[in-house]
Amino acid sequence: MCFTCNNILSWIIFLPLIGSLAVFILPAPRVVALISTILTFLLSLNLWSNFDSSDYAYQFTEKFDWIHTLGINYNLGVDGISLSLVVLATFLMPIIVLGSYSISKNIKMYLISMLMLQTAMLGTLLSLDTFLFYVFWELMLAPMYFIIGIWGGKRKIYATVKFVLYTLFGSILMLVALIYVVWEFYKQTGQITFLLTDLLQTKLSFKEEFILFSAFALAFGIKVPLFPFHTWLPDAHVEAPTGGSVVLAGILLKMGLYGFIRFACPLFPRASEAMTPFIVGLAVVGIVYGALIAWRQVDIKKLVAYSSVSHLGYCVLGLFALNTMATTGSIFQMLSHGVTTGALFILVGILYDRKHTRLIADYGGLASKVPVFSFMFLLFTLGSIALPLTSGFIGEFMILLGSFKAFKIFTVIAVSGVVLGAVYMLTLYLKTIFGELDKDRNADLTDVNIREMFMLIPLLILMFFMGIYPKPFIKVIEPSVNNFISLVSERSEYLDQHDKSARASFNLNKALKDTYRDSKRKK
């Protein structure tokens, strides 16, 4: 059965927006938001059930002119990769809305921001027009800015401004690069368009490709975040309210990786190939560095935040290995990370709601006082360190297996992150849960309540389901990943035909000088 199948993607994107209007008008904002997010989730399940996983092409496409004179279209479509992320995003939202019961200040605005953020995220995932993508991409900023800024912790203003400026810095250069590609395409064909499928026919010289890819990679690398650009993430995570952290770790960070898959790599395949050692190197540094830093944290939330840096390093590693196994694993790991890290943030939030501290030193021996909480915490900790039977294991295993074929040394170093992951997570667990309940202030700690159970149980089920029976997910993701890999290599060959010269004797320094000279001559 298929509801609204002709424009199901538009419904999925704009249902949260309608929901936010309803929240604004109707009383009982939480209930309204919950209904709207659950409806969106059901709609996305409906999308999944009608999705033909044997077909790798974009499905359920919608297209009409938005701004005719500039060739900007409202073009949506879904493939296995975006489908899985859409389902993740719609799945996490009702849980986040449930979590909003611990927020009392200006709840309507909180929910409206969340729902607008959901619209922006889903739009980003489903856009096939580069400009539409850019608009949705930027639209993710403002709601998150308010979520951290209004409901955040002590250093919220610093954190939120840093988050916005970092992200904006990358994305605005991406816009310039995008306009350049469109303009090149116009010069070659006389047709002005922002459609991704058209722009994939643009002929670019290797130098151009290199510079344009750098602009895109900066935008997406900041969002992931790759190693030297990651400093906004711990700040944002620590200051954000629980819901904000969940959505940040669960979905927003994946947008950077999704951007690489959908836009940067297919548009600039040769440059991405040339830059692969560099990016993967940064990812591996991020894996080890993130894990080491996480080990030394005193704040639980910051620890989980740094573990995100480490885990997303694996995703980048697998993505750039560009073989079916590793790239599928990378996307699977994105889903898995969204589930386990989201759950860990919820658990930290539960502690924080009760005791208003996140310092490891303030807890200890919780097992005797809050057994259910401790058990949940244990399961998600194990999921985070990728124990077999949990989703994390499948993802990391596929990534490491696949990328060992592509880069041996990097992968060997990356494996150390698995061990380190176990070290910091188990240390955290040891310090907070085991031992004597020696802090008096923890004596009145209450266990997980029904509402919180409703938030955690779905995540728990999904984590084990994905770990024990990953096939439904892999089945959807794999054909699209194969399509992505062949797209990249086809376009790489296509570009090689038109510009045979540069690649072998590529010299960055010279290329930059040449480009500079060219631009001066054209003027």
Binding site: E138, A142, Y145, G152, K156, I157, L165, I172, L175, K523
Partner: protein, 487 residues
């Protein structure tokens, strides 16, 4: 012959309405001792002018010059008239519902009459095709403004602003006059067409013609307020009554941009290699320094003043890429930007205005601490205007404005300029977001917010916000509308 003159008069009917309306307003004001609704009367004048404008726009052949070639009656002048009348109307709406009381404006009759006259000058300045008329238009516009800047007589800074603007404005007028004199000496005519053909027939441009062109460019750039000729702007903007600041940031800027288009593109288009380098330099300096200087401002009004300098910088980037039709890519971008910019500026200054009072000069950003909890509706509107000025969704209008400009400029391979502009746009986000930080993220320090934003003010601000968002979702409306006016 009579037909000919009559046709000319009908073509300038909107201007006649403005001028005569202003005189009538003063006359009535002299005879009526009691206060009377001068604001509404002046809005009616603007509406009448707008009606005659729409009659002109729909019923005449365009591309004509009128009054023996001293003024153009073409698509450009029609679009300019529309933007000026829109800006004037919005400023009147703002003034009559809040300003005059809050800023100690005493002689209201003169206040409205001078604004009307200034708008008259603004339209003449942007549609003249002969240097003397051009200069007269500029002076009508500026002289009224010199006086208007000093209208809040209870504030010292207002008189300072008036004096500063007068001195520096006259100085720049002197530049223009000197340039015009040199051009007259070189070509023997003051008409734009005559000067340009005279300059082009000489094979090698004499140094004098470079000098003349340079002086004229400097004069225009001063009125637009580009760095390094911006020094007057922050002080003048801060000291002047807020509604006048709004007026200067919108109407005067629009008029100066159109004057620049007429002189640089339509008259000296063939000499673009001469002026484009200078303009490139001014544009890059403006976008970089305008935004950097705005960063450290404590006063919101001053910050918005610097931001308006930066926005003028974005628009002047587009001036580098001439095209000859109103509906060309670049001019479409400029018109869209000016329209959106007018709405955003009226909105943001309007909200600032609701929170000011006659007694104190306080317009610091910290004035807005905790604004969102006390005045959620106005705060939401302000947030929309700030996001739009920063070029962030969901207020898409500002984003599209910048996008259009960057697209048209990139086509001429001004890559360095665009990269400088987008990076300073990131810097700009910081200071626009500071306002949102103050309103939403900082608790109020027991500040009391005045609640007397009446229905009409709120209606005006809401309308501005709605159009900022709507024009962002459907930016083609603007080009369709421009098309409607221009054809």
């Amino acid at each position: 012959m009579t037909d000919f003159v009559l046709k000319d008069l009908v073509a300038v009917l909107p201007l006649l309405v403005l001028g005569l309306g202003a005189l009538l307003l003063i006359l009535v004001d002299v005879f009526l001792k009691k206060p009377w609704p001068r604001g509404i009367f002046s809005i009616i004048i603007v509406l009448t002018s707008f009606l005659s404008f729409s009659y002109n726009a729909t019923s005449f052949d365009h591309n004509e010059s009128i009054f023996s070639g001293t003024m153009a009656f073409d698509s450009w002048s029609l679009v300019l008239s529309f933007l000026v009348l829109l800006g004037t109307g919005l400023v009147f709406w703002l003034s009559s519902s809040v300003t005059t009381k809050k800023e100690g404006v005493r002689s209201e009759g003169e206040y409205y009459a001078l604004i009307l006259l200034s708008s008259l000058g603004a339209i003449i300045f942007g549609s003249a095709t002969e240097f003397i008329t051009w200069f007269i238009g500029l002076e009508i516009m500026s002289m009224s403004l010199y006086a208007l800047c000093g209208f809040s007589i209870s504030k010292k800074s207002s008189s300072e602003s008036s004096m500063k603007y007068f001195l520096l404005g006259s100085f720049s007028s002197a530049f223009l006059l000197y340039g015009i004199a040199l051009l007259y000496g070189l070509s023997g005519t003051t008409s734009f067409a005559g000067v340009s053909s005279a300059l082009l027939t000489v094979n090698v441009l004499s140094p004098l013609s470079y000098l003349a062109l340079g002086l004229i460019v400097i004069g225009i750039v001063f009125k637009i307020g580009l760095v390094p000729f911006h020094f007057w702007a922050p002080d003048v903007y801060q000291g002047a009554p807020t509604s006048i600041t709004t007026y200067m940031a919108t109407v005067v800027k629009t008029s100066a941009i159109f004057a620049a288009i007429r002189v640089l593109w339509l008259t000296f288009g063939d000499l673009s290699n001469v002026w484009s380098r200078a303009l490139w330099l001014f544009a890059i300096l403006t976008v970089v320094f305008g935004n950097l200087l705005a960063l450290r401002q404590k006063s919101l009004k001053r910050m918005l003043g610097y931001s308006s300098i930066a926005h003028a910088g974005y628009i002047s980037m587009a001036l580098l890429v001439p095209d000859n039709e109103v509906l060309g890519k670049t001019s479409g971008a400029i018109i869209f930007y000016l329209l959106i910019y007018t709405l955003m500026t009226v909105g943001s200054f309007g909200i600032l205005l609701t929170q000011m009072n006659e007694k104190s000069d306080n317009d610091e950003i910290s004035l807005f601490n905790g604004f969102a909890t006390k005045q959620p509706f106005l705060a939401a509107l302000m947030a929309i205007f700030m996001l739009s000025l920063a070029g962030l969704p969901p207020a898409l209008g500002g984003l599209f404005g910048k996008f259009y400009i960057f697209t048209s400029v990139l086509k001429q391979n001004y890559i360095g300029l665009v990269i400088a502009a987008v990076l300073s746009a990131v810097v700009a986000c910081y200071y626009y977001l500071r306002v949102i930080v103050a309103m939403y993220f900082v608790e109020s320090d027991s500040a009391t917010f005045s609640v007397n934003a009446n229905f009409w003010t709120k209606a005006l601000l809401t309308l501005c916000a709605i159009f900022v968002i709507l024009l962002g979702i459907m930016p083609t409306w603007v080009s369709n509308f421009t098309y409607l006016i221009a054809q």
